[in-house]
Amino acid sequence: MSAPAPARPNAAPPAPASPSARDRALAVFRSLPGPLVGLVVIVIVMSVLSPYFLTSRNLLNIVSAVSAIGIMAVGAALVIIIGGIDLSVGSVLAITAMFSAWLFKGHGMPFGAALVCALLLGAAIGLVNGLLATKGRVQPFVATLATMSAAAGLALYITDGNPITSFPSWFLALTENVPGTQIPVQGLIMVAVYLGAAFWLRYRPDGRALYAIGGNEEVARLSGLRVTSLKIRVYVIAGVLAAIAGMLTTSRLDSAQPSAGSTDLLNVIAVVVIGGASLAGGSGTMLGTFVGLLIIGTLNNGMSLLNVSPNLQPVVIGVVIIAAVMSDRGGRARLRGGH
């Protein structure tokens, strides 16, 4: 394209001498995840209050405590970026875990194959969510509420509420350390999922398109993006990630439980939203989500270490969430030159 534009004698924009340096600083600051300030403060306070907090052992505890929620949060973040919501993650975790265990124990399927079936089931539930939310034109909240309910029921139905136990030892290794090191396998899996998703969102056309879809679906459609199929794909990814989280949960306890994941939903969404994503869609990053995850994980862990009364823990969590979100906002506003 080379349409000749008329030269303009007066083209200097009303800007200070080097706008780009300032812009670049701003851009770097913007690229920082949401409430990072909050996280840093929490970490400092915890390490002062508890001598155990900064031990490598404890940090590994945190990783293993957050990995399942963290992986689900990646899917939830993608869905939230496109302006949707997925309430079914926790239930998908439960049903896929029960399903693979049931294929393995009840039907003698090799466990590897059973795990693949679990992933497929997760994808299938995601597909149903996606189809309802796009072709079915049902609000994502309603669509995933329905699948959440159905999947939770089926998870109980499979074994009438009984857990299923005893899995192959290679499977249990998923939640142990990498042999000969102190590094937990599940932590690596989680980090890989985050890096993969971050790469997709930043560098792949399809991933980048998610922001456009969440920002203004009509603009995205008129720009020739495959809005429907991308949205469906995001729900499928969320389903598959929930199934992976289900595997980690099963592996950790050597037991597949129908009620697993049932309390995770709010945590998962909280992680994403604390990480700076807006439920209105169009914004949110993997780095932010990860920070949100660490805030929740560190808080829970820290209060256990400090033996805060169980009744007061939720109070502390509530206060800290607000403080973390607001401190971040404050910090940014100051740097922007306040308003």
Binding site: M1, S2, A3, P4, A5, P6, R8, P9, N10, A11, A12, P13, P14, A15, P16, P19, R22, D23, L26, A27, Y203, R204, P205, D206, R208, A209, Y211, A212, G215, N216, E218, V219, A220, R221, L222, S223, G224, L225, R226, G282, S283, R336, G337
Partner: protein, 541 residues
């Protein structure tokens, strides 16, 4: 160019400059506003006298809207003061400004699409009867307010789905039905056709005669000249000229805005080739339009003219697959496009710049660069990876080509309207298209940018692109097009060659009687075919 040298360009102030002596009216002194450290207003003085119209002009990004927002309490100034009739005036928000009788017709249309027309008009001051909303009264008053503008619209219907022009008229009705003492029209005519604009200007006359002080912002200088009692020109956030009369030669206005001698004459476009690129046959969509045929050849510019609501937008939307037509075919380079498949159309090189910049064109929260590359990322990707560098380079290049001013890696929302429009154009010029459809190409664009956009359109045609221009500015269509198709009531009313297309001929076709069956579809063969519409009196309704 630095601010200092810009100031040295300053034209002599003609007539009585800032009327600092008199204390009647709305007087603003030294308004300053900064965004992210950038001064966009550098001490603007502006006085709005009662019972007069102040024409307010300036390039895109000069600071007109920012000034308006300060006056109407939408944003807080970083410096300066305001008084009304000598009494300090510092509105805490739009509500406070409205209470003091200062109203704004915003540049971007801001209506609630889920609510009814009447409720939009009365938002913030719903009429009550016995503690309850007086729906009947609200609706009849809304109807009156609209009728004053010549709009015949059911006030109970939802705003969603109304054409932009009608929405703009609702905005105007909303503001002036409050009987404000001071009212700022920020480019009210940008999305209106000639006759609608005419009625708006009429209303402004009525307001002035009733004693209101009016500020009229427009890039259509002819309107400013006709309406204004004084004219104020802003450049780079500074006041550069003031005339105590509206009757300023257009050339002088342009020179003040642009800061140099500037003339532009539509010249005859280069002849088109004979190779047909776009062929549309029998296109129809129930309730919108029917039986539309059109052909565009490589290097040709086809203009679509008609009154607002004629269905032009709907036709081009169907052509590029954004809406699904019920019948008809769209053929590009001999290949038929799948109906209602925008992706396929884009892949075939058919792109459209929509008229609704905010709703359909740009993702306002994303950066300009991201908006520009949005449709092309898959093809810009190297090894499946879209690098920051590619995005930046692509955007930078276009920004240079199109002279986009504003920071490309800040959200588009922070750019001025004209620059947003250029970003929107640039988005579809990353790859040279086969068929380029532009709906209202110069909405809210200043003269300089307008000419630049015309050059872009001509340049595209010169490269062999088939161009379709939809515009409510007749001058624009006539100046650019090889042929003009006139639409009315959802049908083609005839096609005129460049020679035949005088303003009178077009308006006659657009306004008068239903086109004879013969004239619809006459576009198909050659440009020289004569169209002889019957001038029957009967109107559509």
């Amino acid at each position: 160019m630095t601010a200092a040298s810009a100031a040295s360009d300053r034209l002599e102030v003609v007539g009585a400059g800032s009327s600092s002596g008199s204390s009647t009216g709305l007087v603003c002194t030294g308004l300053v506003k900064e965004y992210a450290g950038v001064r966009v207003l550098k001490g603007v003085d502006i006085t709005v006298a009662p019972a007069s119209v102040l024409g307010f002009i300036g390039e895109n990004g000069a600071g007109k809207s920012t000034t308006s927002s300060i006056i109407t309490g939408v944003v807080k100034p970083d410096g300066g003061s305001m008084t009304i009739d000598g009494v300090p005036y510092a509105p805490s928000g739009p509500a406070a400004a409205l209470e003091q009788g200062v109203a704004l017709i915003h540049q971007e249309i801001r209506l609630l699409s889920e609510l009814s027309v009447a409720e939009n008009i009365f938002l913030g001051r719903l009429p009550l009867a016995g503690g309850r909303l007086a729906r009947g009264r609200m609706e009849s008053e809304a109807r009156e307010a609209l009728q004053a503008l010549g709009v015949d619209l059911d006030p109970r219907r939802q705003v969603r789905g109304l054409p932009i022009a009608v929405q703009q008229e609702i905005e105007i009705a909303k503001a002036i039905s409050r009987r404000p003492k001071y009212v700022i029209f920020d480019e009210p005519s940008a999305s209106l056709g000639e006759s609608e604009t005419e009625r708006v200007l009429e209303q402004i006359g009525v307001l002035r005669d009733a004693g209101a002080g009016v500020v009229y912002i427009s890039h259509r200088l002819e309107e400013v000249r006709r309406t204004a009692d004084q004219v104020l020109c802003l450049r780079d956030g500074q006041r550069v000229a003031f005339w105590d009369t509206g009757d300023v030669p257009q050339r002088e206005l342009v020179n003040a805005m642009v800061g140099r001698e500037f003339t532009y004459q539509h010249s005859a476009p280069a002849p088109a080739t004979d190779r047909e690129v776009l062929r549309v046959r029998g296109l129809g969509r129930r309730g919108a339009f029917e039986g539309v045929d059109l052909d565009v050849r490589a290097g040709e510019v086809l203009g679509l003219a008609g009154l607002v609501g004629a269905g032009r937008t709907e036709v081009v939307r169907a052509v590029c697959g954004v809406d699904r037509p019920d019948c008809g075919t769209v053929v590009v380079d001999g290949k038929e496009l799948r109906r209602g498949d925008a992706r396929a159309a884009i892949r075939a090189g058919v792109v459209m710049v929509p008229e609704d910049r905010k709703g359909q064109g740009l993702n306002l929260d994303r950066t300009a660069a991201e908006n520009i590359t949005l449709p092309w990322e898959a093809s810009l990707a190297k090894g499946g990876v879209v690098s920051k560098k590619v995005v930046k380079e692509t955007a930078d290049k276009l920004s240079k080509d199109l002279d986009i001013r504003g920071r490309l890696h800040l959200p588009v929302a922070s750019m001025s309207g004209g620059n947003q429009q250029k970003v929107l154009l640039g988005k579809w010029l990353v790859k040279t298209p086969r068929v380029f459809i532009i709906d209202e190409p110069t909405r809210g664009v200043d003269v300089g940018a307008k000419m630049a956009i015309y050059e872009i359109i001509r340049g595209l045609a010169a490269q062999g692109v088939a161009v379709v221009v939809v515009s409510s500015e007749l001058e624009e269509v006539l100046g650019l097009a090889h042929r003009v198709m006139v639409m009315g009531g959802g049908r083609s009313r005839g096609v005129l060659t460049r020679e035949e297309a005088t303003p009178q001929a077009v308006m006659e076709l657009a306004v008068l009687g239903t086109a004879s069956e013969g004239s619809t579809g006459s576009l198909t063969t050659s440009t020289s075919e004569k169209t002889t519409p019957k001038t029957t009196e009967g109107q559509d309704r």
